[in-house]
């Protein structure tokens, strides 16, 4: 099992910036989203100190995004909100398993949201189904080495895809919809969905390898 490293020193950097962001709320500008490093500090504060303010800050940032994510998978607003709460509750419970050497906060929260959605679909089929709760497997040294810059690499590579390619990849993440269902939704032939997906995957792979 993986324990989070104790990175929290005496200076909770996120709370300073939270105040800063609060102070600009009254101006017309949208407050800048906290940087990835700030989310790491927040999550580690939840892990080590059960820090509710840090949790609330994570909730305010990720909660509304999670809701959109679930709703794009054809869930009602009410159900999406239930799953947001379940996801964030799991974030609280499992914060000590978060390992910043292994994944960014958005990626880690995504995997929790994914598991909660799988869980939900299973319970729909079989209410007695046990929670989908895959064990945390510690990464090998080699994997940690690869991980260091992964989230940035992925972001850059995704930005290199056309909007059309990004859209088709996003759909693969929203729901279990088959390619023929996606074709119907987009009003394009199945063959086009298949070839577009393949092109997007190949392009992403090329961009990722260029980044390495």
């Amino acid at each position: 099992m993986h324990e989070a490293h104790n990175h929290i020193g005496a200076k909770p950097g996120w709370s300073v910036s939270t105040r800063r962001r609060l102070s600009v709320v009254n101006s017309e500008e949208t407050p800048p989203a906290p940087a990835a490093a700030e989310f790491v500090e927040m999550l580690l504060a939840v892990a080590t100190n059960k820090d509710r303010q840090a949790f609330a800050a994570l909730f305010r940032h990720f909660g509304p995004r999670l809701k959109t994510f679930f709703m794009r998978g054809a869930m009602s607003a009410g159900l999406a909100e239930d799953l947001v709460q379940e996801t964030m509750l799991t974030v609280w419970r499992k914060a000590s398993y978060f390992d910043p050497d292994r994944a960014g906060v958005a990626t880690w929260i995504f995997t929790i949201a994914r598991n909660r959605r799988i869980d939900h679909l299973r319970r729909q089929r079989d209410p007695s189904s046990l929670p989908f709760d895959p064990p945390e497997v510690p990464p090998s040294q080699e994997e940690i080495f690869v991980v260091a810059e992964r989230d940035t690499r992925i972001r850059n590579a995704l930005a290199g895809l056309s909007e059309e390619q990004q859209a088709i990849l996003r759909m693969a993440y929203f729901s279990e919809k088959s390619q023929s269902e996606i074709a119907e939704e987009l009003g394009i032939p199945l063959g086009t969905v298949k070839s577009r997906t393949r092109l997007a995957m190949n392009r992403l792979r090329t961009l990722l390898e260029d980044e390495t």
Binding site: R52, F59, K94, A106, S129, P135, E142, R150, I154, M201
Partner: protein
């Protein structure tokens, strides 16, 4: 254990996205346990999911959402419930991949000369199309066409088809339009874990395997 035959990128992406059906997902999980190459790719596709999440337009939550969640936290015990240790999965004393822990492994049943088959019950998805096959040395794997993609993980032994030799730890992913005839290599029997995509296809798949035997 290093593998020579891997899962396709699109499959790994769907696994990472959580949209692969239960049967194929377990076959992929078995392969991932021994394949750091595919594991690294799954991590990449999880990071794609993180990036997609981060870029979502926010949808307003109800005003009480945070308060309700904090109230749920207040009702929590500090200690999460201990995980129930699960026995390793096995069949006739042969250790099976950890991915199958908690699954219901049936007995080996005769499915043709030199071929035994066992259906694997997946507790969270009764309709999952997952089977174990045990095929004797030099024997052909049961001849079957398939309707969707078929995922096969080699648990032990090896077989060869026109795509090469598949050994313990390898993954074979065959689309419906691929015709191939795997023959188990000489010397040792081969045990495979196989899953089909799709819900309703199990019957037709099993039907095709059993049809020549039982005349059903």
């Amino acid at each position: 254990m290093s593998s020579n035959h891997h899962a396709k990128d699109e499959t790994l992406m769907r696994f990472a996205a959580g949209t692969l059906a239960a049967g194929p997902a377990l076959v992929i999980e078995a392969h991932l346990a021994g394949c750091s190459t595919c594991r690294a790719r799954v991590f990449e596709y999880e990071a794609v999911g993180g990036s997609i999440l981060e870029d979502m337009e926010p949808t307003q939550l109800s005003e009480t959402a945070l308060a309700v969640t904090l109230a749920m936290i207040d009702q929590e015990d500090d200690q999460p419930a201990p995980r129930q240790p699960q026995k390793p999965a096995e069949i006739d004393g042969v250790r099976l991949p950890d991915a199958l822990r908690g699954c219901d492994i049936g007995r080996w049943r005769w499915a043709g000369p030199g071929v035994r088959m066992s259906r694997v019950g997946v507790p969270h998805d009764p309709e999952a199309n997952l089977i174990l096959l045990k095929v004797g040395p030099g024997r052909a794997l049961p001849d079957h066409g398939h309707v969707g993609t078929e995922f096969t993980y080699i648990v032990s032994g090896s077989y060869t088809d026109k795509f090469g030799q598949f050994r313990s730890g390898d993954l074979a992913e065959m689309d419906e339009d691929i015709e191939h005839q795997p023959i188990v290599d000489q010397g040792v029997e081969c045990i495979c874990l196989a899953a089909m995509e799709g819900r309703m296809r199990f019957n037709s798949f099993i039907g095709r395997v059993l049809q020549p035997i039982f005349g059903i």
